[in-house]
């Protein structure tokens, strides 16, 4: 396509891999979480929801700092790291995935939670009267009804991970093929005044963000058409 150096292509594929894996994990972990947040009457529910929402307002450097400490040999990351025969999870792809999952959680969980809440109790009650087990009701009633929420969550989670910078800079170590993602590549280009390369990458990312937001807006319009629950 263009004459971007091969390491840039490595950064692109790495970024996509990171964002896809993060989104997948968040859909698996985030769905029960969102379900619980939407249904539970526990008094501390909103406190839990607030903790999950923290990355929305915390600077990535704050998260990055805590992650650097937590992933290190003296933190919990240290003993998880031993599963991969490592000393630390910083500077590894696994570490970035953990960081991204923390960072992108609210972007996936909140839309799904909203969708579960908007659905209300009725469809599930109806399913129950038809003798559907809760498990079956969840899969055949709740999930299809909340599909727009899942879509929004997945798209936002993916896009937000692609756009992540501060955390990667703090815990990544800028290793090509492992932790050097697109946003860091752009930063390197700017720092060394390779404007042309910076321009191509930054422009492509801006176009990507535009497409994501436009797609989401159009999807939302489609799904929220009157007549649909």
């Amino acid at each position: 396509m263009t004459s971007l150096p091969p390491e840039t292509w490595t950064a692109i594929s790495l970024t996509i891999e990171l964002a896809a894996l993060t989104t997948l994990i968040l859909l698996v972990v985030g769905t029960p979480l969102a379900w619980w947040l939407a249904r539970s009457r526990a008094w501390w529910k909103e406190a839990a929801a607030t903790v999950i929402a923290l990355p929305l307002v915390l600077p990535p450097t704050v998260l990055g700092f805590y992650l650097l400490v937590a992933l290190g040999p003296d933190g919990p990351g240290g003993w998880i790291a031993r599963a991969w025969n490592l000393r630390t999870l910083a500077f590894t792809f696994q570490g970035l995935v953990i960081g991204s999952v923390v960072y992108s959680t609210p972007f996936v969980v909140q839309p799904i939670r909203n969708a579960f809440e908007a659905m209300g109790d009725r469809p599930l009650e109806a399913a129950a009267t038809l003798r559907a087990s809760p498990w079956r009701a969840f899969w055949t009633v709740a999930v299809p009804l909340a599909l727009p929420g899942f879509l929004t969550g997945a798209v936002l989670g993916f896009a937000h991970t692609v756009g992540e910078f501060g955390i990667v800079l703090m815990i990544g170590g800028n290793i090509p093929g492992k932790t050097k993602v697109l946003s860091v590549a752009v930063y390197d280009y700017v720092e060394t005044m390779q404007w042309r390369e910076a321009n191509i990458l930054a422009g492509a990312m801006a176009a990507f963000a535009f497409l994501v937001i436009l797609t989401m807006t159009l999807l939302e319009k489609r799904f929220s058409r009157p007549g649909r629950a």
């Binding site: 630390t88 060394t192 005044m193």
Partner: protein, 253 residues
């Protein structure tokens, strides 16, 4: 006189009385390469005590700072970690041609928090460590010096998988300090206040001397505080602080 006017008159009198001490006090924005952070803070303090001028310091890698300078950042003085960028700043018309001088000669250190790692060239050959931190060689000359050192020792190819890169030298330090990397190449100045661990000051014949140059930027040409800051950096008081942080001082060119 109405009470209000009286108040204003008193206020005016106070201001006039306050002026003599601060009459020449001005403020200047200084861009400082990250390795010089601690020394620059002390210099700014001494500078203020001596002249009354305020130096506001911004830290980053030399590359990042230089990019900002080309984009009209409000910096008036540039303390780079290399010679190349101040030279380029003059060529590209951002700095005054005659203002460039070497304010410090940086020393590269291999540092570990583990006293037993004994951080010498043999430590680099040992298979017992996983991560070696350094800083981005494109933006920070200490990173380039680290790579040069590894190449001189013929270890670069072998150690490449273990290298982790900080955006600037402060971050390389942080990687070692947080325990995530067992060893790292940092600036000797960063270890001025660090005790314990183990360190190996890399012999000068393994890498090109890190001559750190300063320039007066055009934005600061008319600011007496900017001019005075560079003069202070060259003065015996300034040089004493530079040396205290483990830098060499060279000829002024």
């Amino acid at each position: 006189m109405k009470p209000k006017n009286l108040l204003l008159a008193w206020l005016g009198l106070f201001l006039v009385a306050a002026i003599p001490a601060q009459v020449l006090a001005a403020q200047t924005n200084v861009a400082v390469a990250a390795n010089f952070t601690e020394a620059a803070k002390e210099i700014a303090g001494a500078f203020k005590a001596k002249t009354g001028h305020e130096a506001s310091l911004s830290f980053g890698s030399s590359g990042q700072l230089y990019t900002q300078i080309t984009q009209e950042a409000p910096f008036e003085v540039f303390l780079s970690a290399d010679e190349a960028r101040p030279k380029k700043a003059i060529e590209d018309g951002y700095a005054l041609p005659d203002s460039r001088f070497t304010y410090a000669i940086g020393k590269l250190v291999l540092w570990s928090k583990n006293p037993a790692l004994s951080a010498g060239p043999e430590a680099l050959k040992a298979p017992s460590f996983e991560k070696l931190a350094y800083c981005n060689p494109l933006g920070a000359p200490y990173g380039a010096a680290a790579i040069e050192t590894l190449k001189s020792l013929k270890l670069y190819e072998k150690l490449q998988p273990k290298l982790v890169q900080g955006e600037n030298i402060s971050q390389a330090f942080q990687f070692v300090d947080s325990g995530n990397a067992e060893m790292g190449f940092v600036a000797l100045s960063q270890l001025a206040k660090v005790s314990g661990g183990s360190r190996w000051v890399v012999p000068q014949d393994l890498y090109t001397p890190i001559r750190q140059d300063a320039v007066l930027l055009k934005k600061g040409a008319a600011n007496q505080a900017a001019v005075a800051f560079l003069a202070f950096l060259k003065s015996p008081d300034g040089v004493a602080i530079v040396k205290k942080y483990g830098y060499g001082v060279g000829d002024k060119n």
